[in-house]
């Protein structure tokens, strides 16, 4: 479909459409197109004529008008933007540089759906990316194509993020595109019926950002053992949870930890410096760390800093619930009298 080279539009192009089915004239056709990784959401390639989804594996002319579809089964679907977005641009970039507008190879101004911060059917025709170096793309290679919600006069990507898919371009401009992996529900075994549904919706509102403490407010580290002849105690504080219900603003969050010096329970003049408590962020036992949440590097006993970053969720993500745990390691210095020491670990949650 849509490969234009074979038929040249005759006089004025007012003749019938020069569209033919076909998939194989692209030199790299045998090379699978890379899957899309890192896009804020799926980009399905649609025909600008009518919004119909273009078949997987099709070879497209560089200038054939195509649009990005948020949901090929629902043409009313839009790409939801963010409040901080002030503009929209479509782009072609080297793969991996999608979120860096300064690294885009070619781009063009697009726009919001009138009266909203959302985008619908952005034109992602390669030949329509009229700024930058379109010819570099037309020369061939592996690229990403998509659009971005931008802020700061197009300098930076806004919270709405970047949506793209990968394309593989043959010398001259014909190209193939990657299709997001989708899960298609199996058809019903037999029979069907139509049900008219009606619902009145209201504007989405941000929920709250909460931190739920572990079930037990006191953590007793395990029995000390000698490691390299130093008293070493380990333990976990137990599962605690970040709940983020801000479905509209998607601001993201940061978790930090800080700890006080350890004090001997029998003699408060004897202490263990807080730098000797190692803190490592981990997903809570039995849970998987949600995509979009990043754990900070562990603080190592002996050189731990306070306060220290623990974990974060990037802006643009709204992960309903993240279960975490902190693995602690206390290494008492050699001159520390034996005894029971106590301290307080504070875990702080802040919105980005």
């Amino acid at each position: 479909m849509l490969k234009s080279a074979a038929i040249r539009v005759a006089a004025v192009g007012v003749v019938a459409a020069a569209l033919i089915a076909g998939t194989s004239s692209l030199a790299q056709a045998a090379t699978p197109v890379d899957p899309t990784v890192g896009s804020a959401g799926p980009v399905y390639v649609g025909d600008a004529n009518d919004g119909s989804r273009i078949a997987d594996g099709a070879t497209l002319d560089f200038d054939y008008a195509v649009i990005a579809l948020a949901d090929p089964s629902d043409l009313s679907a839009v790409y939801t933007g963010s409040a901080d977005a002030t503009s929209v641009e479509t782009f072609i970039s080297p793969r991996g540089s999608e979120s860096n507008p300064a690294a885009w190879t070619a781009w063009s101004t697009s726009g919001f759906l009138t009266g909203t911060q959302n985008v619908q059917y952005p034109t992602i025709t390669p030949g329509s990316q009229i700024n930058g170096n379109q010819n570099a793309v037309r020369a061939g290679g592996n690229w990403s194509i998509g659009f971005a919600f931008l802020k700061d006069n197009n300098l930076h990507v806004a919270g709405g993020g970047v949506y793209f898919t990968n394309i593989t371009v043959a010398a001259g401009g014909d190209y193939q595109f990657a299709t997001p992996t989708t899960v298609t529900p199996p058809p019903p075994a037999s029979g069907s019926f139509d049900q008219n549904l009606s619902a009145t919706t209201i504007d989405a509102q941000d929920g709250t950002l909460n931190l739920v403490a572990p079930a037990n407010a006191t953590t007793t580290l395990g029995t000390a053992t000698l490691v390299n002849n130093l008293s070493t105690s380990t333990g976990n504080i137990g599962k605690f949870t970040v709940q983020d219900g801000r479905v509209v603003t998607h601001k993201g969050w940061d978790l930090t930890t800080s700890v006080t010096d350890f004090t001997n329970s029998a003699d408060n003049t004897k202490t263990i410096d807080k730098k000797n408590l190692g803190v490592a962020a981990v997903a809570a036992a039995g849970t998987t760390l949600p995509a979009g949440v990043t754990l900070a590097a562990a603080q190592v006993a002996g050189s731990a800093v306070n306060p220290a970053p623990f974990a974060s969720a990037a802006a643009g993500t709204a992960i309903a619930s993240t279960d975490l745990d902190a693995a602690l390691t206390l290494v008492a210095p050699a001159n520390t009298p034996a005894g029971t020491y106590t301290a307080k670990l504070t875990v702080t949650l802040a919105s980005k």
Binding site: V9, G13, A48, I67, S108, T109, S110, Q120, Y121
Partner: protein
């Protein structure tokens, strides 16, 4: 629209009287990165939207050509324009006829010269114009072996705007309109002595309107203000007067999709020739297909050199051909309905699909 038109008229007169230089235009416009359109006022707002980018149709789209933006120059504004990098300043083509004339001069090149208006001396403009916007067809210039080709752009209709009593002027018949524009004595309708106004001579709207009401010779009561009256400008109408007006332009201005509305608070209304309203709706207007399908309806065109869009020609230019290929979703001549098509934009500007998509060749010689 309105402000620039008034300034342009003033500037033109001033320059003639003073006889001063013209090299520095009052309002310099950017030059085009690729192709250039000039001509019809009726088509300029929708073409501007397409070439400059718009989301009035829903999706955001911009018509481009081979990786470059396209330049569309208004029919009115500064007296001269420079359309391409390093090119000459030449008289701004103000209307469909002037646009086609400029295109022909551009094709011919030296020694043919073009003079858009009296304020600007004739210039050689070879290669400076690629497409002419025309709100009328080629008429008697149609020729099956013609050097130009008129590619249907959209369907418009021509009604009349009036400033006065709705009871008297709101629904004039074709016979009444013919009488008003042919008479050498004032015509009275009801209690109104009607003052007919007509756009300047190269206006396609003017020629189509007169043709559709059967007028070949204007009566002496028709006011053409030194042949400089802009078309589709409601602000030029004195009391108890009427003027031919593009229905599409009226709808576009009323819908707020044009840069400037000349209608505003003028109190000017669009008449219903023979009692058929040109539009439907009250807040957001839409073309009334019954009126557009009548004898007041007209197909509008983009005019290009045939050899440049003929795939068998040695001078075939695919980028230009694509630009006027109606089968391409985001070409200038597309008339799709889906919101990412150019047609969806044109609909917001009061146009319907052309009655025929067949191009018409014209002008046996350039």
């Amino acid at each position: 629209m309105k402000i620039k038109k008034i300034a342009a008229i003033g500037a033109a007169i001033g320059v003639v009287v003073a006889g001063i230089a013209f090299a520095a235009p009052a309002n310099a416009e950017p030059v085009s990165n690729s192709y250039v359109l000039v001509g019809s006022d009726t088509l300029q707002d929708s073409v501007n939207a397409l070439t400059n980018g718009t989301s009035v149709g829903g999706a955001s789209l911009r018509v481009t050509a081979g990786g470059a933006s396209v330049g569309s120059f208004d029919a009115f504004g500064s007296s001269s324009i420079q359309t391409k990098p390093g090119g000459p300043y030449f008289g701004r083509p103000s209307g469909s006829g002037a646009g086609v004339t400029a295109l022909r001069a551009s094709i011919n090149g030296s020694p043919t010269t073009y003079s858009g208006n009296a304020a600007v001396p004739a210039k050689v403009i070879g290669g400076q114009v690629d497409i002419a916007r025309s709100s009328s067809g080629p008429g008697a210039n149609a020729n099956s072996a013609g050097k130009l080709v008129y590619v249907p752009y959209a369907r418009d209709a021509v009604a009349y705007a009036y400033n006065g009593s709705s009871a008297d002027l709101g629904a004039l018949s074709k016979a009444q309109l013919k009488q008003i524009y042919e008479s050498n004595t004032p015509v009275t309708i009801g209690g109104t002595v009607v003052h007919p106004v007509i756009p300047q001579g190269s206006s396609g709207t003017r020629s189509f309107f007169l043709s559709s009401i059967g007028v070949t010779t204007l009566g002496s009561t028709v006011n053409d203000v030194n042949n400089t009256t802009p078309e589709n400008d409601a602000s030029v109408l004195p009391a108890d007067s009427i003027i031919p007006f593009s229905a599409a332009s009226w709808i576009a201005q009323s819908n707020g999709v044009t840069g400037i509305s000349t209608i505003g608070s003028t109190g000017v209304k669009l008449g219903s020739p023979d009692g058929v309203a040109p539009f439907t709706g009250t807040t957001t207007l839409a073309a009334n297909s019954a009126f557009y399908g009548s004898s007041y309806g007209r197909d509008t065109y983009l005019v290009v050199e045939f050899a440049r869009v003929d795939s068998s020609s040695a001078t075939y230019d695919k980028k230009l051909a694509d630009l006027v290929d109606s089968t391409k979703a985001q070409s200038l001549t597309n008339f799709g309905t889906f919101s990412s098509t150019s047609g969806a934009v044109k609909a917001k500007f009061g146009f319907l699909a052309p009655s025929s998509t067949a191009p018409i060749r014209a002008y046996a010689t350039i």
